[in-house]
Symmetry: D2
């Protein structure tokens, strides 16, 4: 039984991780932490778990943690996380970190987009980007996983086959995505106040979203050369899900049939990536760790659609998939 | 042209009042105020008015107000309002006050439910409860209107004919209501954060909602004797509207046909109250000043359903209906 | 491994049953049927199951069924079901029937509310009403379970302790409920077309809803004497969940504290019924088999709030809970 | 007083036209028609108009129409409309046609995309494309207006300044749009059944949407040469609004400041087009005839965002704006 600690358990990725571990046959929750003002019985913080989880969410006590847990799902925010991850590693735990702090290998890019000095470059270099479908082998032996961002997960799974095969131009990829509002986190704000967000839809992060360099870095690793991505996120009036619509310029001739064949082959062994023959819907993946992809040709462009649940495949589910890999468990446990 | 000032224009009742006055043929906006941190060009505070209203929302300057406006729609919160209303009256304006400060005639009840001393009892006694369908004559000559609460508006219009005719027991009325989330105001909060409120429904204010004594006071006036109301509000995942489902015990025999006749007669001359032959829907009244009512008999009880838009008939529309009455205008202007 | 057939698998209760059985450790899907025009690969009918379930939904072939499955979850509509249940029983299967055909013991009431002659009165008498919290012992030995309606489940769990203790008058219970729209089934209709239902809320089935006699029958069994219930359902703009707000007249003095004690005792051993200290939210039970209940006193009445997911505790989850009981499995399997 | 007939009044564009004409100071409804099975009192077909409109919706009687109305808003579906428009013109009415039947000047393209022979080519040649901001002069003298499609309206207003100035490549424009569900019309369907569409988002019409050739034709007229547009629509879980996110390749260097200047100049005199300094929101234009546009530069591309209400600026509002122009009225009447 893998013993799981969740650090920063009071947000949406925390509760989603609790939900999944509760139905995981080979893992159990042993320790949940949060800021003091967000602590309390799990059932008081998250009434949906009343009768399902009797733990307390407590302020983090590193002394207690050592020996108590095998792995930490670290759900702390960007910039905060890198202050705690080294201590979690020192306490002997495997760490799956949900923040961006260990994703960007180029410190200058990190510091430009996150406006803060990186304080744990030592661990940065050994962190593995936790997208199992692309980096499973590295994940197997890792102590520290940089769990991917939600938008990069959906977009990278969608374009990886094209980049790997060198089928599309790498200087003109457009990723147009719409996310549900759990992606904005659990803290209330004027933009996401119900009467403002309900019946609404808008673009944000124009030219500046932090998932853009993350996508470009990993896309570049896959392609073997620099990739330029115009990433434009939008917020839509639903809880869960990201639909990415991606436009690429093919290098040569390519047909819709070829694309379906390519994608089917590329993901043939992947339990969580499903290739469709028509447009995916975010509702079909909501609450699951699945990514649904459809690729086709329109007016001389390759257009790929991908749908994931931002809190599951885009966060907690993928983290637990990574955890399963690290500990040699069946990769789908907790998310069948 | 009636010159309208909106005091406290930065909330939802403020923007709804702006919207209605903009389409009012005989009234114009002349002055909009808010707390300093919420001021700015109308189009910056409310982008929906870009190109439609070129005013600034400014901090209130009482000196400027006098002579500039004929009427103030005072959209300030409870407890704050009574600090400003006397000054608005002194400046020579008619005042339609959206707060509860001038609704409860019994100061002890006010102080119990609002937990604050009433500081303007002088004006309290002359304030008129602004439900035109029941108090039109008093409104005509009034300087100060206590604009009704949203729940009381929907409930009182629904039960007034029964109380007036003495058809139901007055000690066992149950008002079960569901409101859209604009009713909670424009300030973000954890309960009404989109991912918490979306796909949700819950009761609140159990036994303690401040609209309960307001309903009871006016119901008592209509009935001519004390009325006891169990009022239970709920919040539902939509922007606008209140659906009230009201259960009463008839004193004697009453049929569904009698009820329809009674309601049709009672509201025959009312432009904004429409009697239906089946259940009303909140969507049919959204964005309008209408109240849709259906009354029938079920299992020995009288059951009445009423639907209003909480921001229009439950707030800004009713306020402007009151304004129209005070100034002798066609009562429906701005809300055809 | 319990082998499960789902008869009528192409609707919402069918897909919800598939979802639960897929995560059930001791049960497996072996046979799925539907009308010919709704058949096909599960992944084509329900894309959410692509990669998760490789079965076909086929037209029912009773010959194939015998020996293939241990239990049938019969998700057929009212009136249709009683034509198939006898055959499923004859084929040697245990049957959990989702329709109303075996719920109402009084054939005259059934025929009045369902406007059709009952054609399987033989099995009607041996069917057990599948509300485990109240009838677990009878369920254990049953071949045929009449799985309760969604509204009766939420309402009966909420009032059972009061009726059992004889604390409230049984001639004046009011059940005011709001359901999400999956409750209306998977067939499109004008009322539930997205732009009509979105941002809407309305009452329906006024005085005529078929769950009213079902509630009254079971409430009467619990109370030991006739119970009269005014049940008023409403439809709200969300997918899943029923919130019931129930008003009762206490026979004598009763306090909120007594009620909480009573409910905690009554459901102390029940995994799926949780007693709260404040109002339940439908979102907290969505996707789960839990019922959240809060009981209190307001203005001399007892008011009880209960929340369930109409598709889980109100249908498929409860059916599988019943299945678990029949086969001697851990009652919570598949729904932890 | 302009006398308005609405032909095909029983759908969403019909009810939206009714709503606008009801608040129009210089126009009045005189005749409403629909298929026989959709006729009845307006208040029965559209309860939101109870007490606001006492007309009947009747089967079309061309004999009655002549002399009764000055203008027909023809809300009939594609393919049906061209069977009626000649008769409406013969009856001496001006016609604003909401269908696509008079939009595509190239009959071959029409017949390819609509799979039917065009039966009124005579009137096709004199029909004017009713986008006032671009074709106001032609509209002034027209008898027959081809009211633009909703997606083309949002997209064309967004790219017109760029095309007119020749600033972008015309062979690689991508229009990614998300529409609310009123765009799908009033007939229920499985895709737009509330529990299927709620909390959902998906692409449709991939490579085949009929608004693609319409956009290309008008864009070509504006640019003075052929324009190729990859148009990809999506459906989102809200009632009203289209957000278009448009990606163009600039021919030379262009800055965000230049773009804002260009757009401000281009639309300086237009009441219904507002140029923003940040991303538009569909909610800000919902219920209005406004189009909000923001244009900027991201990663070497020009990206333009535009928001309209699909039923107002995308249909009924624009139709009435056209009507106002034809009859020499203030262009904004009915939509202030």
């Amino acid at each position: 039984m893998i013993r799981v600690a969740i650090i920063g358990a009071s947000g949406y990725t925390g509760s989603e991780s609790i939900r999944i571990i509760l139905q995981h046959s080979d893992a159990e929750l042993v320790y949940l932490t949060a800021l003091p003002e967000e602590c309390g019985a799990v059932e008081d913080v998250f009434p949906q778990f009343k009768g399902r989880c009797n733990l307390q969410i407590e302020p983090l006590d590193l002394g207690k943690l050592s020996g108590l847990a095998d792995v930490a799902l670290c759900c702390l925010p960007h910039k905060i996380s890198m202050g705690f991850v080294p201590k979690l590693l020192d306490a002997g735990l495997k760490v799956v970190d949900f923040s961006a702090d260990y994703r960007l290998k180029d410190i200058a890019v990190y510091e430009e987009f996150y406006k803060v000095k990186h304080t744990d470059t030592a661990n940065l270099s050994r962190a593995v980007f936790g997208l199992p479908e692309l980096f499973r082998e590295q994940i197997k032996g890792a102590d520290l996983i940089a769990n991917p961002g939600c938008f990069p997960t959906g977009a990278l799974l969608a374009i990886a086959p094209l980049l790997k095969e060198g089928l599309v131009e790498t200087n003109s990829i457009i990723v147009n995505a719409v996310t549900g509002i759990t992606g904005a986190g659990r803290n209330p704000s004027i933009k996401f106040h119900f009467p403002n967000m309900n019946e609404n839809l808008f673009a944000y992060g124009i030219g500046t979203h932090r998932h853009m360099p993350e996508m470009e870095q990993i896309a570049g690793e896959i392609a073997g050369s620099a990739v330029k991505i115009l990433f434009q996120p939008h917020a839509g009036p639903f809880d869960r899900g990201i639909l990415s619509t991606i436009y690429c310029q093919p290098k040569g001739k390519v047909s819709a049939e070829q694309l379906i064949g390519l994608y089917n082959d590329f993901y043939a062994e992947e339990p969580f990536v499903q290739i469709l023959h028509n447009a995916p819907s975010v509702k079909d993946v909501a609450g699951t760790n699945y990514c649904h992809i459809f690729a086709t040709c329109v007016k001389g462009k390759v257009v790929i659609f991908s749908a994931i649940d931002n809190l599951v495949k885009g966060a907690s589910g993928q983290a637990i998939q990574n955890m399963n890999i690290i500990f040699g468990l069946e990769e789908t446990l907790g998310m069948e």
